[in-house]
């Protein structure tokens, strides 16, 4: 291997939470404690020296980097304070940025000093559309009757409600962009992982159905079960936060899917009026509320854990980690608060909070492929890849 260290990459690592990376002296204590490490592949010892040597191409396509869920054991046992866990986090942050598309947005979303811009973009977009829709501010009675259903105004014909129409034209492109960027990124990652793992042109490729049933679905089951978190020692409390958070995302996804179905599909049929707000005793509403509380509790636990780790010096404070925590907390708090304000009946304040809720949700969608939230797709892809790599499609079962 002809080696050309990339000094900028090292600088990048150091600024993204991997400032301790150069301290590693390759004792491999981390590899001894890490469940991902194998005899032939000392992880994360090798990744540490690759990062020290600025070998970014090797690192970007390293499935183990994505499979690491930062249990913190390596950092806890590191005799040199090199914090391998944080370095791996920084490598992931760099990977999301490097694979991100469009590049400008990916770069923008990766640095803490851009935070005001990151918040302003959705604020301006949503603000403009609110203005266009007629700058609607309800009376107390209207608010009690319609809730936030007329945030973007109202029109009287059977089709999408004006509100849903506006939310769709804001959120669907944002989510679409994110989905496309994530797809592009995951494809690129898959290709790099295949190259690094020496998966050449396989004679047999799995069909889409085989791929989903044999690799993707088992990976998702594993994610929901949180088995890997249970192998942690130093950071085992994190599962108490991550599990409710993940389940709340599932719940809220169901709620959103239901809403989309009722608002965007059923509403198109004549004679059906399913406009909100939904009754508090509707099972979907109960699921939504439970989900919201689980989300706040889950992210709250992760927030507390991370603060404590940072105080103990077991983790480095980075924008990469905190941005996601803040973002999710903002979504949860503004969502729940908006609902409470609706029930209490404070229209102006409610509208402001609802506006912020839309802003935070849009941020969550739009920046997903470039921020820590990207792990939802990249890590799933890596886990599927891990299963693929060990399957008979790649490995000759006769030769092991």
């Amino acid at each position: 291997m002809n080696v050309q260290p990339d000094l900028d990459f090292i600088k990048d690592m150091k600024s993204a939470g991997g400032d301790t990376l150069k301290k590693c002296y390759q004792c491999a204590t981390c590899s001894v404690v890490c469940p991902l490490s194998s005899d032939g592949d000392p992880f994360p010892r090798k990744e540490m020296i690759m990062a020290q040597w600025g070998l970014k191409d090797k690192l970007i396509g390293d499935p183990n980097v994505m499979l690491c869920h930062q249990c913190g054991d390596c950092t806890a046992y590191c005799p040199r304070g090199a914090k391998p866990g944080d370095v791996l986090g920084a490598i992931r942050a760099y990977t999301y940025k490097a694979l991100g598309w469009p590049t400008g947005l990916a770069k923008l979303a990766s640095s803490g000093k851009n935070l005001p811009i990151l918040i302003l973009i959705p604020m301006i977009i949503i603000g403009i559309f609110w203005k266009i829709s007629g700058s609607h501010v309800p009376t107390v009675e209207e608010f009690a009757r319609n809730g936030y259903g007329h945030f973007f105004g109202h029109w009287n014909f059977y089709w999408l409600s004006k509100n849903v129409f506006f939310i769709d034209i804001i959120m669907l492109p944002a989510a679409g962009l994110a989905a496309f960027a994530a797809f592009k990124g995951v494809t690129a990652l898959w290709q790099k992982m295949s190259e690094n793992a020496g998966v050449g042109d396989a004679t047999f490729r799995p069909s889409a159905i085989q791929f989903i049933t044999q690799f993707l679905f088992p990976a998702m089951v594993e994610i929901v079960q949180h088995n890997r978190f249970k192998e942690c020692n130093a950071n085992e409390d994190r599962v108490k936060g991550h599990l409710p958070l993940l389940l709340s995302f599932v719940a809220l996804f169901i709620v959103t899917a239901y809403s989309a179905f009722t608002q965007d599909v059923l509403s198109l049929l004549p004679g059906i009026n399913l406009h909100g707000p939904i009754s508090m005793w509707n099972p979907i509403k109960i699921l939504a509320n439970v989900g919201a509380i689980a989300l706040i509790v889950g992210i709250g636990i992760l927030w507390a854990n991370r603060s404590q780790k940072e105080q103990e010096g077991q983790a480095t404070k980075t924008f990469y980690d905190w941005f996601l925590i803040w973002e999710i907390m903002a979504v949860g708090v503004t969502g729940l608060l908006a609902e409470l304000l609706r029930l209490v009946g404070l229209p102006s304040l409610g509208y402001i909070v609802y506006f912020l809720h839309l802003v935070s949700v849009m941020m969550l969608f739009m920046y997903m492929p470039y921020t820590k939230f990207a792990h939802i797709v990249y890590r799933t892809a890596a886990m599927a890849f891990e299963k693929y790599r060990q399957s008979a499609f790649v490995k000759d079962p006769l030769e092991g």
């Binding site: 291997m1 080696v3 260290p5 090798k46 040597w53």
Partner: protein
């Protein structure tokens, strides 16, 4: 990084009125003995009649006398001659340092063949003259097939030098890159902090690795290394390659000290010490095998400035101790304060030269006839001469052939009884005897047929004591002494080695008398081996019991 302090130190020494400095000067010869050395100085590189003569063996001298061989010392004063114009000194500190090693023998690294492959010393010169290139590989070990060794004469210094020079690359170049490929990164003690600091630099890349070769690559060089920490073989394109050449002590190829001693102008058995002048790094630091001559700095080991300063202090203190002891007429070390010295009954000397040959410290010169000329202040009182003398004419006031002989004769020998044998052990009092003592304190059991006599050093073992023991009916004799060889532990360097050679000789004598040579044995014991002593002794006793009693018993 700090600026080197050597300039300040030199001017401090120059400003000291009690210190005389002579530059461009070499030692032609040092004659005499501690407390009274006569040193002849000469201009560096010149030849004088007072240059120290090479050692000429008895056989060589015979050939020279017959005119069949050229005298290598032709035109030189005899070694026993004292230069009347020489200067008097009490003790000598040898601090002639080191020279950069020649690394062109490692052909795959291309030093001397490829442009821009330099040694660390040459790179330092470049750095002092101006800027260094921006992309440099530092090779710490010659590598090649399965070679895990560093360059010879490296110690920890070249690790530190590479780290420092890597910093030059970074300081002189905005985007400089320095690669260090090592087998061992040695940064002992506080220097670990320096290593940590250098490691933290973004542009310094370290890996363990085996360098397989350096090749030309357009205008630059390509370094290839296997078995790296990155898990695969590496190729590095660099502007310059720096080899961590070691620091060869000046004493390796050159006597340097130029002693006018019978045993020759250089230190003895330098191959035991890789050419370093120091005789035993752990037990007797700074002491060479010539009493009154102390080593410090690069002639002792490859070391840093800091260590050299420690060394100089140690060697100077030893030198002061030497002069004080010589002044009071007592032994310097290791038997500090011993007031006796070997006395010779010269009228019975046969000029066999065994004592002059075997003295580990070159204390004995000889006169024209070959009679020993003792130099009491060079002597360390080990008694090797006493053990060597076949005429038994050498002895100390408190340690003599007769004294030990009487001890042997005092031991009761069970008379002609198959069950009760008697085995005698001569034990070195420096390591083996304390070990025996400790074994007793640990309540280790041992065969009660053994009797012990402590000796000053196994080197002082005279064969006559063995003969005394066996002729008085004892059934076996064992010698317990220190380890010898390149990891020797003998206080007097050669004692136990000489003793075991003598015992091989006595074995032959015994077999001509019809006795088994195995009745006499030598065992090596370290002071920490006390728990092994009972086994060693019991095993030997078993062997003797198997052989049966001494056939001369009772005569």
């Amino acid at each position: 990084m700090e600026t080197p302090s050597i300039g300040d130190l030199i001017s401090a020494v120059e400003g000291e009125s009690n210190i005389t400095i002579k530059v461009s000067t070499e030692v032609a010869r040092i004659s005499g003995s501690p407390g009274n050395f006569t040193v002849t100085l000469k201009e560096a590189g010149s030849k004088t009649e007072w240059d120290a003569p090479d050692k000429v063996t008895v056989d060589e001298q015979e050939l020279i006398d017959k005119g069949e061989k050229e005298d290598p010392n032709d035109g030189l004063q005899k070694y026993t001659e004292d230069n009347p114009d020489g200067e008097k000194y009490g003790a000598v500190v040898l601090a002639t340092g080191w020279i950069p090693a020649d690394v062109s023998q490692y052909e795959h690294l291309g030093h001397g063949k490829l442009k821009n492959v330099v040694t660390n010393a040459e790179f330092e010169k470049l750095a002092k003259e101006g800027k260094v290139p921006g992309n440099v590989a530092f090779i710490q070990s010659p590598g090649a097939a399965e070679n895990d060794n560093d360059f010879p004469y490296c110690n920890s210094v070249t690790s530190m030098v590479a780290l420092k020079q890597a910093k030059y690359v970074r300081e002189d170049n905005a985007d400089g890159k320095a690669f260090i490929i090592y087998q061992h990164m040695r940064t002992p003690g506080n220097t670990e902090l320096f290593y940590k600091g250098i490691q933290d630099d973004d542009g310094i890349f370290l890996t363990k690795g085996t360098v397989s070769g350096v090749e030309e690559n357009g205008t630059g060089l390509t370094v290839k290394a296997d078995d790296t920490l990155l898990g695969e073989s590496l190729e590095l394109n660099v502007d310059m390659v720096v080899l961590a050449a070691g620091m060869v002590p000046t004493t390796l190829d050159n006597p340097t000290i130029n002693l006018a001693y019978r045993q020759g102008p250089e230190f003895m058995d330098l191959d035991l010490f890789d050419g370093y002048a120091d005789s035993h790094f752990i037990c007797f630091p700074y002491e060479t095998r010539r009493t009154g001559v102390y080593a410090s700095g690069g002639v002792r080991k490859a070391e840093t400035m800091e260590e050299t300063i420690d060394d100089a202090t140690g060697a100077a203190l030893k030198a002061i101790q030497c002069i004080e002891s010589a002044n009071r007429g007592v032994a310097v070390h290791p038997r500090s304060g011993d007031q006796t010295f070997p006395e010779f009954f010269f009228s019975r000397c046969t000029q066999c030269k065994r004592c002059t040959e075997e003295c580990p410290f070159g204390a004995l010169d000889d006169d024209a006839k070959g009679t020993p000329l003792p130099n009491p202040t060079r002597c360390r009182r080990c008694g090797t001469c006493m053990g060597a003398c076949p005429e038994r004419i050498i002895g100390f006031k408190d340690y003599s052939i007769d004294l030990i002989g009487s001890m042997v004769k005092c031991i009761e020998v069970p008379d002609d009884d198959e069950d009760k044998l008697r085995i005698l052990a001569f034990v070195c009092e420096n390591d083996a005897y304390p070990a025996l003592d400790m074994s007793g304190m640990h309540r280790n059991k041992m065969n009660k047929l053994v009797r012990f006599i402590p000796v000053r050093c196994l080197g002082s073992m005279n064969m006559v004591w063995i003969k005394d023991a066996l002729s008085s009916g004892m059934d076996g004799a064992i010698l317990l002494g220190c380890k010898y060889g390149d990891d020797y532990q003998c206080h007097f360097v050669k004692g136990s080695e000489i003793a075991s050679r003598r015992m091989e000789n006595i074995g032959e004598t015994l077999s001509t008398l019809g006795l088994e040579p195995e009745r006499v044995a030598v065992r090596q014991i370290a002071i920490s081996d006390y728990n092994k002593i009972p086994d060693i002794m019991n095993e030997f006793v078993e062997e003797i019991i198997e052989m049966g009693p001494n056939p001369f018993k009772g005569f």
